[in-house]
Structure formats: structure tokens, C-alpha cells
Symmetry: C2
Subunit: 231 residues, 2 copies
DNA sequence: AAAAATTTTGACCAGTTGGAAAAATGTTAG
DNA sequence: CTAACATTTTTCCAACTGGTCAAAATTTTT
């Protein structure tokens, strides 16, 4: 039997699962990063089905077969992006600390999320695209990891509420509303820009958003001088 | 010259632009609705590029050429959906009335938007998909119609603020935050369900959301009994 | 019931898609 | 230098894509 052609970099490792996988070469790391970067561009705009390997390859500046040498299937690229993404995405929430006070904690959570919308809009859109499609590739992670994390943080919020440090309300929907309002600035960026126009739609929009959201979440819309209305 | 075959229902009308277009037959109306309904299913999940005519035809229960008899191109279907959508979508905001009081107006705006997220989730996702892709097909409408409408309503909000009926804040971001928080329940439905789990994730989630959002927007997160924190 | 118009179907097409195979070209350790 | 390996290119393919076309089936009008 002639030795099988070695089409993938880790073919040897795969043949013998317990063999130490040879470390990636410099070129492998560089090219994989290049591909993932390009794929993020494409997937985040068109979703999984709407994106083609050719498009990704073109953005990455290489031929399609060459790209397929590093990632043998399209799904593989997407999977890699998604699993890297989830960690990044949940990190800000993980930082919310029970020993802190609610308002500083919530405020800095909002800030971090808003910074992510500003600095990593493609990641946000990639995530949104996956959600819109029913999250077929990450649903289990949502139901386990995400759910556990949110449960845990909801307990913290409830604790603060019981201590009278925070208005008593639904902690889950509180978290949802922070996700929604912050990610909006990445996912619906076109709309935000269209509405704000050229002058107000510059980079300053993130500071305006931060100021507004802080006020909304920390002080609410009720005018401070007026007693809350009934009904 | 032999008379051209009449492949499209309105070919005659098109030949003579000022001729009164013959009204659609019953079958034409029914089938077009059937197709648009199916297309909404498909486009809202996969976006324009990720959807195929075959898929739509299958959901609509007809053959691809038959579908193409009613809508000669894929874009046409999408265009029809989008233009019908924008009207529906902006209707709730249009209702916000300067002569009313801010809190009832804002509260019922939130309610209407939340009802739309509950009753028309596919429309919401179709819209979200278009946004994620940079809104190539509706950008002008956003920059003109949407922008004018929001400008107008922002003026109303500013008026209320000047009268001391509403906390002084950024009216544009206020509107954004209402859009974001309500549409979240349609666009990120999978995530919401995954986090809330089977028991809390039923239809009741919309009522919980309504209650929470009302509280957030009307009273804010600051505990009523405590003076607002400094810094 | 015939004629006219509308609707549906089946066969087809050119371009695109994800991917395979193999040959050609670099790169590196001994 | 050269053998072993890593990378890239060329060629190819079967399935799918949006869309056409003529004929057949059906419905509507006269």
C-alpha cells in the first residue's frame, strides 16, 4: 500500500490520535489567521449560506484550493470563528462581580459591551447572523454555557435587589436589554448612521450612546424633580 | 412579426405604459401571496443571498418555473417584501403623538413594537438581515423617509423634555434603545429561549419583557427609595 | 362548446458552488 | 546537495444556481 498523500497539515496526527500533533509552522499560523480574518468579513455580512469560499479566498488574497488546503471545508472556518467568538463575547458578562456595587458593575458592563460593538462590529454581526438563522451551529452552547452564565449573573442581580441596592425587576430581561441596546450599534450600524446623518453619525455616536444608556439604566427616564406618575 | 408570447401577467400593460393595467385575477393574487409568504419564511432566515428560488418554491408548494411566472426575478420578490415591510415597520412610530403626554405615548409605542416582535418575528428578522448586509436595497429609504420620520419624532421628544415632562436626554438614542430592546425578542429569539429555558421561555416571556421594559423606561433602575448615586 | 387567455410543467442552459486530485514548486533538516 | 516535507497552482467535477422556453394543461370568455 503506497503511503497516502498528505493533503492536510495534520494528517499524520489524525492517523495516530495519541501522537503529539506537530506544532503549526509560521506560515500555517499566518495563513490561517489571514483566512479567518477574511472569513469574518464575508460571513458577518452575508451569513453562512450567503458566503462563498471563492469570496473568502479573494478577500484573503489566495486561490480557493489553497484556502481549502488550510481549512478542508467551509463549515470548518465558520466553526473556528464561532467558537473563538463565544469566549470573547461572554467575557464582559463574566467580569460582573457580586462583591462590587450594582451601579458601577452594570455601568462598566455596558461600557465594555459598547466598546465591543465599536471595535468588533464584524464579530457582533457574525453572532447576529447566526442568531437570525436559528443558531444551528451553537445552540447547545447557548443552552448550556450561556444559560449557566446568565443564571449565575441573574442570581447576583437578585441579590443586589434583595439588598435594596437595585430596583426590583426581572434580571434576565435586564441582561437582555443591555445586550440589545449595545449590540444594536454594531448590527444596525447602517440604520444608525442613516438616521443620525453625516454630522451626528461620526465616531461621536458611541459616546452619545454611552451617555444615554448610562442615564437610561442608572437613573431612568422619569424626571428627577417629578414624582413618578401613577398608572 | 409574430405577436410576442405573453409570458408575464402584465406584459400587455408594460407594452403600453399608459394603458390601464388589467386587474389581477383571483389566482394571481392568491399565488403571489402564497409566494410572498413562503419567501418571508426563507429570506428571513437566510438573507437574500443565502436563499434560493427552489427553496421558496418548495415552501410555497409549486415548481420553480411556476414561481418565476409570477415573479420573473428573485430580486422582485425581495423588493415586494421589503417595501411592504417598511410601511408596517414605521407605523407604530408614526402614531407617537405630540399632543399626548410622553409616558403614555412612549409606553404604548413600546407595547406596539413588542407586539410586532411577537406577532411578526419573520418580518423583524427580514429587516434585521437586510441591516446586517448593509441595507443595500433600502438604504435610500432609510436616509430619506426613516430619517425624516425620526427627526420629526425627536423634535416631539425634545419638546416634552423642554416642558419638563421627560428627562432631558438624547432623543435619537432613546428611539434606538426602544427599537433595540423590542426587536431583540424577535431577532434573538433562539438566544432568549435558550437562556430562559423551557419553563420561563414560553409565551409569557413577552409579558415579562413588557413589564420590565416599561419599568426600565418609565422609572429607571435607580431604587426609588434611594437618592441617585453620585459619579 | 369553441376560442382565447391564463397557468403549469418538463426539458434545458450557462454560470457558480463546494470540493477533489494531482502535479508543480518551495522550504528545510541532515 | 538532497530527500522529505510543506505549500501552491492547475485542472477538473458533480451538484446547485437563477433563469429561459416551448408545449401542455387548465381556466375564462365568448
Amino acid at each position: 500500500m503506497p503511503p497516502k498523500r498528505q493533503h492536510k497539515a495534520d494528517a499524520k496526527a489524525a492517523a495516530h490520535p495519541h501522537a503529539k500533533p506537530r506544532p503549526l509552522t509560521r506560515i500555517q499560523r499566518e495563513k490561517q489567521d489571514l483566512i479567518l480574518e477574511a472569513a469574518l468579513d464575508v460571513f458577518s455580512m452575508h451569513g453562512f449560506r450567503g458566503s462563498t469560499i471563492d469570496q473568502i479566498a479573494e478577500v484573503a488574497g489566495m486561490s480557493k484550493p489553497n484556502l481549502l488546503y488550510y481549512f478542508p471545508r467551509k463549515e470548518e472556518i465558520h466553526r473556528r470563528l464561532m467558537s473563538a467568538l463565544l469566549d470573547t463575547w461572554l467575557a464582559p458578562l463574566k467580569e460582573m462581580d457580586a462583591t462590587g456595587d450594582p451601579f458601577p458593575e452594570i455601568r462598566s458592563y455596558i461600557r465594555r459591551k459598547l466598546e465591543m460593538a465599536r471595535d468588533f462590529p464584524r464579530e457582533s454581526r457574525l453572532f447576529a447572523n447566526e442568531m437570525l438563522q436559528g443558531a444551528p451551529r451553537i445552540i447547545e452552547m447557548l443552552e448550556v454555557d450561556l444559560r449557566n452564565l446568565v443564571d449565575e449573573k441573574a442570581q447576583i442581580l437578585l441579590g443586589w435587589m434583595d439588598q435594596g441596592k437595585l430596583a426590583h425587576t426581572d434580571p434576565y430581561h435586564l441582561i437582555f436589554s443591555i445586550w440589545a441596546t449595545t449590540q444594536h450599534y454594531a448590527d444596525f450600524d447602517v440604520q444608525v448612521r442613516a438616521v443620525l446623518g453625516k454630522d451626528r453619525g461620526g465616531e461621536g455616536r458611541f459616546e452619545d450612546a454611552a451617555r444615554y444608556l448610562e442615564q437610561l439604566f442608572l437613573f431612568g427616564l422619569t424626571p428627577r424633580s417629578t414624582a413618578p406618575r401613577k398608572s
